[in-house]
């Protein structure tokens, strides 16, 4: 499913920071991980991942270094910083609030059965 642009913009930062909190990684692997985490439902334009990584690097959330990969090519590896971890924690709390509120809305909707459980939407 393609997400709206706003939703993408809002969710991409915590997703990338969260993935990098698992350990150092590089663009291709992060894109793959996003696919795995969403069961293939989240599809990003791969090329957009890099400007995002660069912005997070500017903001000091990530630091990067170039190393030679096993393939023999130079590759840029990204690592989360202290500052990035702090931001991730803040974002985590914010998303929890949204998550809770939205779950409440979905639950109410399905209880009142005003909405006969649209495709793929599970109550609770």
């Amino acid at each position: 499913m393609n997400l709206s642009k706003d939703l993408m913009a809002a969710s991409s930062t915590p997703l990338v920071l969260g993935i990098l909190a698992e350990g150092e990684s590089y663009g291709y692997q992060i894109v793959k991980r996003v696919g795995e985490l969403s069961g293939g439902a989240l599809k990003w334009t791969d090329g957009m991942m890099y400007p995002l990584l660069h912005r997070l690097e500017h903001q000091g959330h990530l630091k990067a270094n170039w190393r030679t990969a096993q393939t023999g090519r130079r590759r840029k590896y990204y690592q989360i910083t202290e500052h990035g971890l702090k931001t991730l924690k803040v974002q985590y709390r914010q998303w929890e609030i949204i998550n809770d509120a939205l779950s409440g809305v979905w639950r109410d909707l399905s209880e009142r059965s005003q909405w006969s459980n649209p495709d793929g939407l599970q109550a609770g």
Binding site: Y26, G27, Y28, V31, T45, D46, G47, M48, Y50, P51, L52, H54, R55, E57, H58, Q59, G60, H61, K63, A64, N65, W66, A69, T71, R73, R74, R75, K76, T81, E82, H83
Partner: protein, 453 residues
């Protein structure tokens, strides 16, 4: 069908990518690695190389859209693009010529405006020198503003702003009854150009100063303008000297011509020409700017440190007996300008390095010097009371203190890896209005406040 050559496909794709201004070699390398990983993965999954290549290219996305995203993230590159895109245009030569024509006309207008007071009988006599000093920025900066209003197509709203600002400038430079050689007059001479330069900033940015990255562009512009202006002034000085010398060989003294026509008109016109050069020749100066900051940052650091050490060793306090405090502030402003310019020309992508540590040392030593000056002024004021010079110096030192402290703090955090370079940039661009506000206060409020002394 199987004759698809993967390598040539990839190099074509790369060639298209590196044609984008916003994308640097390192970005191409990063994206190429991604593409190859994707292709290898798809071939392992059983696809032919041509299929794998097509899918991988599609997943990376439309390169025009992707490169636009790069340009947004790296706004310094975007600035470059704006300038270069005008040159890749087919109508390049006519557009360039028209712009040059506009600049030439505006430069001539500025030069002519300088001579207008002569018609009213105000010429370069000693008693009129203060008049020319107060008004110099008004002779040239409005034309520079016109250039940017034309270039950024600001039309009526830009013209109204310019008219209001120029009127206010003329008013505050000429209506106040300054006492001859008074200090409030000198303060106006020093601060009015700064206030007017902000007007240039507003029309230069085109979007009325709203975004931080546009402000940073203006800082970059200001630094490069200063470099070009100095270069033109040096060249002009040499040329004038030679011309006067040649005429003196054949027994003609044209010194008066140089003093009343060539130098003042040239100085006014050069403001336009220097700005146009910054706009048009971005590529040339770009290589120079980082070099210049790298040369002068260590030198300034050395100079400030040796000043501090000498003070410490000899025990000489800052001499406030003479009213040189304003000059002292100017030196600190120069340091601040250097730091700002270095920040604006730095590639925000690179990790903190020795040069950033040097910058931090420069900021810290300037901070120390500022504190010492502040203590000296405060002592002077509590001892002998307020004068316009002392209050101006006090205000400027406090403003610089806050600005330098913020810069030092964000530099420190950046070097420690606790925050990105963008927070330092944001601090500095957010603070710019404070300088302007102070300049306006000094020009508008100080003379009446201190009785025009």
């Amino acid at each position: 069908m199987n004759e698809f050559d993967l390598e040539s496909g990839i190099s074509e794709w790369k060639a298209y990518l590196s044609g984008k201004d916003a994308i640097k070699d390192s970005d191409t390398r990063e994206l190429e690695d991604h593409l190859r990983m994707q292709v290898d993965g798809l071939i392992d999954a059983g696809l032919d190389s041509d299929e794998a290549f097509l899918i991988a290219v599609k997943r990376i996305g439309n390169l025009d859209v992707v490169s636009r995203e790069y340009a947004v993230v790296h706004s310094g590159r975007l600035w470059k693009n704006l300038v270069f895109s005008a040159h890749t245009d087919k109508r390049d030569t006519t557009v360039g010529l028209r712009e040059f024509g506009v600049v030439l006309i505006l430069a001539l207008c500025a030069a002519t405006t300088f001579k207008l007071p002569f018609l009213a009988g105000i010429d370069f006599e000693d008693e009129n020198i203060p008049f020319f000093m107060r008004n110099f920025s008004l002779f040239c900066l409005p034309y520079l503003a016109l250039y940017f209003i034309w270039k950024r197509q600001l039309e009526m709203s830009g013209l109204q702003l310019l008219a209001a600002a120029a009127f206010a400038g003329v008013l505050f430079a000429n209506v106040y009854p300054f006492s001859p050689q008074g200090s409030t007059e000198i303060l106006t001479v020093l601060h009015l150009p700064l206030a007017l330069w902000f007007l240039i900033g507003v029309v230069y940015t085109g979007d009325w100063w709203r975004s931080g990255s546009r402000r940073m562009d203006f800082v970059r512009f200001s630094g490069e303008f200063a470099i070009y202006y100095v270069l033109i002034a040096l060249g002009g000085g040499v040329m004038t000297g030679f011309t006067v010398g040649m005429f003196s060989i054949i027994g003609l003294d044209i010194g008066w011509l140089a003093a009343t026509w060539i130098i003042p008109c040239g100085a006014a016109g050069a403001v336009l020409v220097a700005s146009w050069l910054v706009e048009a020749k971005q590529g040339a100066i770009e290589n120079m700017a980082p070099v210049l900051t790298r040369v002068f940052t260590p030198l300034f650091t050395l100079s400030l440190l040796s000043f501090l050490i000498t003070m410490l060793v000899t025990g000489n306090g800052i001499d406030v007996q003479r009213e040189v405090l304003i000059g002292f502030d100017l030196a600190l402003v120069l340091v601040l300008g250097l730091v700002l310019y270095a920040v604006s020309s730095r590639d925000p992508d690179t990790a903190p390095g020795w040069f950033d540590i040097l910058q931090l040392i420069l900021v810290l030593s300037a901070l120390l010097v500022d504190l010492l000056a502040l203590a000296a002024i405060a002592g002077r004021i509590s001892e002998l009371g307020f004068t316009p010079n002392r209050v101006a110096a006090l205000g400027e030192n406090i403003i610089l203190l806050v600005s330098l402290s913020g810069s030092a703090w964000y530099y420190f955090r950046f070097i420690r890896g606790e925050s990105g370079f963008s927070s330092l940039e944001k601090w500095q661009t957010d603070y710019i209005p404070v300088y302007v506000l102070w300049a306006v206060i000094v020009v508008v409020v100080f003379p009446p406040l201190f009785g025009f002394i």
